[in-house]
């Protein structure tokens, strides 16, 4: 055990002296990365709006902000990975059905869901 500790100290010492291998990245962002950052901020803002409005607005209003998160996230994925469908026919079908699902979901945007909107006093 003592030998193992000594070996670790001997090997780790010089390695530490070489400086850290991983450091904070200071490489300028590409257009795609900047877009992704903007999308993350937009999704966070929608999430915060949904959180802070909880209990103050109708459930369907709060849910609408959650739907924005899905819409913005879905669009970002389309932008970032949409090019994939042009090389993969099956992915094209997958994308079409995902988009239909998205449209169907958005069709329920700000609508009272079945089962009642308990906080909606109207």
């Amino acid at each position: 055990m003592t030998r193992a500790v000594l070996l670790f100290v001997l090997l780790a010492g010089p390695a530490a002296a070489q400086g850290p291998e991983f450091t904070v990245s200071r490489v300028p962002l590409t257009g795609r990365e900047t877009f992704l950052a903007v999308v993350i901020v937009a999704m966070m803002l929608c999430g915060l709006a949904s959180f802070f409005l909880s209990g103050r607005v109708a459930a369907r209003t709060q849910t609408a902000f959650a739907m924005f998160v899905v819409l913005i996230g879905g669009f970002a994925l389309l932008v970032l990975f949409g090019g994939f469908i042009y090389d993969h026919p099956l992915a094209a079908i997958g994308l079409l059905f995902l988009l239909i699902g998205l449209f169907k979901l958005m069709n329920q945007f700000e609508s009272a869901r079945r089962g009642g909107d308990r906080t909606d006093g109207r």
Partner: protein, 357 residues
């Protein structure tokens, strides 16, 4: 919801049938017989562009008018009314900021969403007339009809992507989506299966009720089939499909507006009142359409992006806004939407009968 209309039609057979799809079918027949492509197709495209100002543009404005017509309407859907425009403005800004990376996908989203939206409207209008005709559309009938109507959109999309060259649309270039070869035939089979099952329900209803189902109930779905299946192969006609979709919409939206404004308690019921409400509504929507499709792009002309791309991105944004607003204001399960859609405009022109003692 159990309210029963006196008439099957909002106005009468001719006007309803023409607006809901009859005119489009007649135009398709004429286009097939007369259009010879080439110069004539260009002239028709120009005619389509001019008609857009009077039909297509106002149809977008009509949803906005209904949402913002009074503060109560907007307050009823606060996220749609106040937050959605900013989200879409963000998408426009992103598309113009990185036109090569983002704009093509924003336009692609709109181009796929648009025929889906047409299908939704076809289904909605069928439900309106089915209800007026007393034809119960239960879960299975609706599933069969939806399968037919939405498959039309999928089949049309699959066929349209069978080209090999990229196309330029709305200021962006889009390569064809390479669906597998088997996809279009399978989707076509699903479409016909949906049609067959729905027609079986129709025949069953006719047999049980010992009468024909009024054809107008089937007209929206038949029109959509013409628009996207044989219509797609007739360029001179296909140019006008958005116009016929808009005409359908404007007709129902106009009937709704008349019912809400003229049919209210204490309001005068006469043709004069109907004309006055129609004029105001029509002028607002005409001006709104101009603002949306000419004024709004003009505001962005300072951006150093090709004009076609600016206009294309803004058209996509206005359309997507319309798809959202349309979704919230036309929910038929909301009594406020369903009841006016059961009225007849002719009835609203007549003074209500005094209640018998």
């Amino acid at each position: 919801m159990s309210q029963s209309p006196r008439s099957l039609y909002f106005v009468n057979w001719w006007i309803d049938a023409a607006a809901i799809g009859g005119l489009s079918i007649a135009a398709f027949v004429i286009a097939r017989l007369l259009a010879d492509g080439g110069t004539r197709a260009i002239e028709l495209a120009q005619a389509g562009a001019i008609l857009s100002v009077f039909v297509n543009y106002p149809h977008f404005s009509a949803t906005i008018y209904r949402l913002y017509e009074n503060p109560d309407s907007a307050r009823q859907f606060p996220v749609t009314a106040y937050a959605l425009p900013f989200v879409l403005l963000g998408a426009v800004a992103a598309s113009l900021w990185q036109p090569a990376l983002i704009a093509p996908y924003f336009v692609l989203l709109f181009l796929i969403w648009s025929p889906y939206h047409y299908s939704g409207q076809t289904l909605g209008i069928t439900m309106i007339y089915a209800r007026r005709a007393g034809f119960q559309v239960e879960r299975w009938q609706r599933l069969a009809l939806s399968t037919f109507v939405f498959s039309i959109f999928v089949v049309a999309l699959a066929h349209r992507q069978q080209r090999t060259e990229p196309t330029t649309s709305h200021g962006v270039t889009l390569p064809p989506i390479p669906f597998p070869d088997w996809f279009a035939p399978v989707a076509t089979a699903v479409m016909w299966a949906g049609a067959a099952v729905f027609l079986w329900f129709v025949v069953d209803w006719c047999r049980k009720h010992r009468r024909m189902l009024p054809p107008i109930v089937l007209l929206p779905a038949a029109s959509q089939f013409i628009w996207f299946m044989p219509g797609m192969k007739t360029a001179a006609f296909y140019e006008f499909v958005p116009l016929f979709h808009s005409l359908q919409y404007l007709f129902i939206a106009w009937a709704m507006q008349i019912s809400l404004q003229v049919g209210r308690e204490g309001q005068e019921r006469s043709w004069r009142a109907i004309r006055a409400v129609s004029m105001k509504w029509g002028l607002w929507n005409y001006a709104g359409g101009i603002a949306l499709f000419i004024g709004l792009p003009w505001l962005f002309m300072w951006v150093s992006v090709p004009t076609a791309t600016i206009v294309g991105v803004l058209i996509a944004a206005v359309n997507i806004h319309h798809f959202f607003v349309d979704g919230v204001i036309w929910k038929l399960r909301h009594t406020s939407s369903a009841s006016p859609l059961m009225t007849n405009v002719t009835d609203l022109a007549a003074h209500p009968r005094p209640a018998s003692a």
